[in-house]
């Protein structure tokens, strides 16, 4: 008997081609991938209508497993490719999947300008607080003081809040979730993909192999428990004092606003400038 899970698996995964996947057992990337697939399925998009673009890193390997139009671009640059695809064929739903280093270190410039430009793209950022694929070096979201393979004496740098960066840069929709709060994650991704304008979902995810192991969270379960304890619903944050909020981060929808759509504006320019 075929279950709902079988249906989704058969419809969306390139199961006969590219499995088993490259991720470590217990990696949060699988949870993110499943959540993305459920969100697209609930929206009711056809596989042909979706483009999934990624950069380089563990999260960057996600597109190869999913039966959309997929591309695995250069490190940090997936939003630039996504921009070209969307402008060339606005009928496509274009989602870019990135890691924290991919999106905010090497791709930081593209990220803030994509948010400012407000082209209708969805950026999903898997924030595992470390460069996993290259062996666990500190990233722009590694906490101050944390141990990584390039901060053996403790990280001297301070972490970005990706979601707040996206809000400030002008994104139309910004949400933050975790791989522990999966139902909320499905909702955030669904809203982000449906949103007309640049939308961002930052997902706190576990890299127990490269990050947790060196920071007293050595397995997926301890990292999940850490997310459960440290994530605070946005509505509760206002009622909490600074001390209680230390080491904690809000989850939920940070912003959901309307801004003029780039493609509609451009179409107006085309109509007024037409060759005659």
């Amino acid at each position: 008997m075929s279950t709902e899970m079988d249906r989704i698996r058969n419809k969306y995964l390139r199961h006969d081609k590219k499995f088993p996947h490259i991720w470590c057992p217990g990696c949060g990337n699988g949870i993110v991938m499943a959540s993305l697939i459920r969100a697209i399925d609930q929206i009711g998009l056809d596989n042909d209508e979706v483009v999934l673009a990624a950069g380089i890193g563990c999260a960057g390997r996600m597109p190869v497993y999913i039966d959309f139009n997929t591309l695995h671009t250069t490190h940090g640059r997936s939003l630039t490719f996504a921009t070209g695809i969307k402008l060339a064929n606005p009928a496509l739903t274009v989602v870019s999947i990135m890691g924290d280093g991919d999106a905010t270190a090497i791709g930081g410039n593209h990220f803030i300008h994509a948010a400012r430009r407000n082209l209708d793209l969805t950026a999903i950022i898997v924030n595992n607080q470390v460069y996993g694929m290259t062996g666990g070096q500190f990233s722009p979201t590694t906490p101050f003081g944390a141990t990584t393979t390039t901060s053996s004496y403790g990280n001297l740098e301070h972490a970005f809040s990706i979601a707040e960066l996206a809000v400030t840069a002008g994104a139309s929709f910004v949400g933050r979730g975790t791989v522990y709060h999966v139902k909320q994650l499905d909702m955030l991704i669904k809203k982000a993909v449906k949103k007309n304008g640049f939308s961002v979902v930052e997902i706190m995810s576990n890299c127990h192999t490269q990050y947790g192991r060196r920071n007293k969270l050595p397995d997926p379960v301890s990292m999940m428990q850490w997310f459960k304890k440290h994530a605070i619903a946005l509505e509760k944050v206002e009622k909490m004092d600074a001390e209680a909020l230390e080491d904690r981060f809000p989850i939920g929808i940070l912003v959901d606003r309307q801004k003029p759509d780039y493609i509609e504006q451009y179409q107006r320019i085309r109509e007024t400038s037409k060759d005659d």
């Binding site: 596989n47 483009v51 190869v64 039966d67 139009n69 591309l71 671009t73 402008l87 300008h113 037409k274």
Partner: protein
């Protein structure tokens, strides 16, 4: 521009590139401001919406290159334009266009380098960067323009080659050609040959995006066509998925070069002037070939039997037209606004007793006809 309108225009090289691109079917341009290429962006921002296309100014040249590859993957002919510092930034994603065999055209209006160099002075210092700027072994086509008329025609040809062979094509202009205004008669659009990429005709479930064939150029589906496939900067198998299999890697790499070798006949473009009875010759390209032509005429008046080989395709290097000149002549002179990037290639081809002389100017000034003429007097 509609048919019937006066087609004689006074354009600068940068503007002629824009007109050539639009006639060739370019409908997407992404760029970042830089001297002396900015007029290409400015003109594109006005012209593309008129023809239903899209212009976007990106946050840097890395992004511009990514955006044009994305647009091309979605089926729209795409171009960007820049100069030295921006061209350096583009190299990363030019490699991605090479490995994914994505058609696109990159205009590099050369200025003095390295680094910020001489933003408003001419140079030909990026020739080797055009060929080998991105890492790894890769085929690429590099073409040089020398006049406003060239800028139009070669841009059309660059798009055609890019679409036909699924390879990025670099157009090397320079500050002199880019900013010189000349009258140009634009051809009727319907009379210009425009080549479109070949798309798959098999049912989607049979489509192999990187399948080999007799031409070595696989049909290319666009995202959204119903041929869902995967594009990656990793070396990939015929299905487009990453591979570590040494046989598949070898076959993939060999096909990249074979498809270009197969097309030499139409990829290699050059012009010969007064070569029939030439005893000495000038081999030049870009704006310098204009000074060379004038020097040739003056030397002819003095009775020196000199000809000119103007290279248009710089890479793949036009071995046989160069070899035929070297076989015929006792000496050639290669004037360049660099330290000898093409003269070295000429020497590599020289299996004959031809003496190869160089004129190299790297002080930010153009090479004058008199300088080449003086060179000719010494070798003739």
């Amino acid at each position: 521009m509609s048919d019937g309108e006066c087609k004689i225009k006074l354009l600068q090289g940068n503007e002629a590139i824009v007109e050539g691109a639009i006639v060739a079917g370019c409908r997407f341009f992404a760029g970042y401001p830089i001297t002396p290429a900015s007029e290409v962006s400015e003109q594109m921002s006005m012209r593309l919406p008129e023809v239903g296309g899209t212009f976007i100014q990106m946050e840097d040249e890395i992004a511009s290159m990514g955006a044009i590859i994305g647009a091309s993957l979605a089926g729209v002919k795409s171009m960007t334009a820049t100069s030295g510092p921006g061209f350096s930034l583009m190299q990363e994603n030019i490699g991605y266009a090479c490995i994914t065999e994505t058609p696109c055209v990159i205009v590099n209006v050369m200025r003095g380098g390295p680094s910020t160099g001489l933003p408003t002075n001419p140079s030909q210092g990026d020739v080797m960067q055009g060929r080998w700027g991105t890492h790894g072994d890769h085929p690429i086509i590099v073409m040089a323009v020398s006049t406003v008329a060239d800028s139009f025609e070669i841009t059309v040809h660059a798009f055609n080659l890019s679409e036909k062979y699924r390879v990025p094509v670099i157009i090397m202009s320079d500050e002199v050609v880019a900013h010189t205004r000349e009258s140009i008669e634009l051809p009727e659009t319907s009379k210009v040959e425009v080549i479109e990429r070949i798309k798959p005709t098999v049912p989607p479930e049979w489509y192999l995006p990187y399948e080999d064939n007799s031409r070595g150029v696989p049909p290319m589906a666009s995202f959204g066509d119903g041929y869902r496939h995967h594009q990656t900067g990793l070396i990939h198998d015929q299905k487009g998925f990453p591979t570590q299999d040494s046989k598949e890697i070898q076959a993939f790499m060999e096909r990249q070069f074979r498809k270009i070798t197969n097309g030499f006949q139409e990829i290699i473009c050059f012009k010969r002037f007064m070569m029939e009875d030439a005893e000495v010759a000038i081999i030049a390209y870009g704006s310098v070939s204009r000074s060379a032509k004038r020097a040739m005429r003056e030397a002819r008046q003095k009775g020196i039997k000199v000809g000119l080989l103007q290279l248009i395709t710089l890479f793949p290097f036009p071995k046989s037209p160069v070899a035929s000149v070297l076989r015929q002549c006792q000496a050639v002179i290669v004037p360049e606004m660099n330290i000898g990037q093409i003269s070295r290639e000429v020497k590599r081809v020289n299996q004959f007793s031809c003496n190869i002389h160089k004129i190299n100017k790297i002080n930010g000034e153009f090479i004058t006809p008199a300088e080449i003429y003086d060179g000719l007097l010494k070798i003739a």
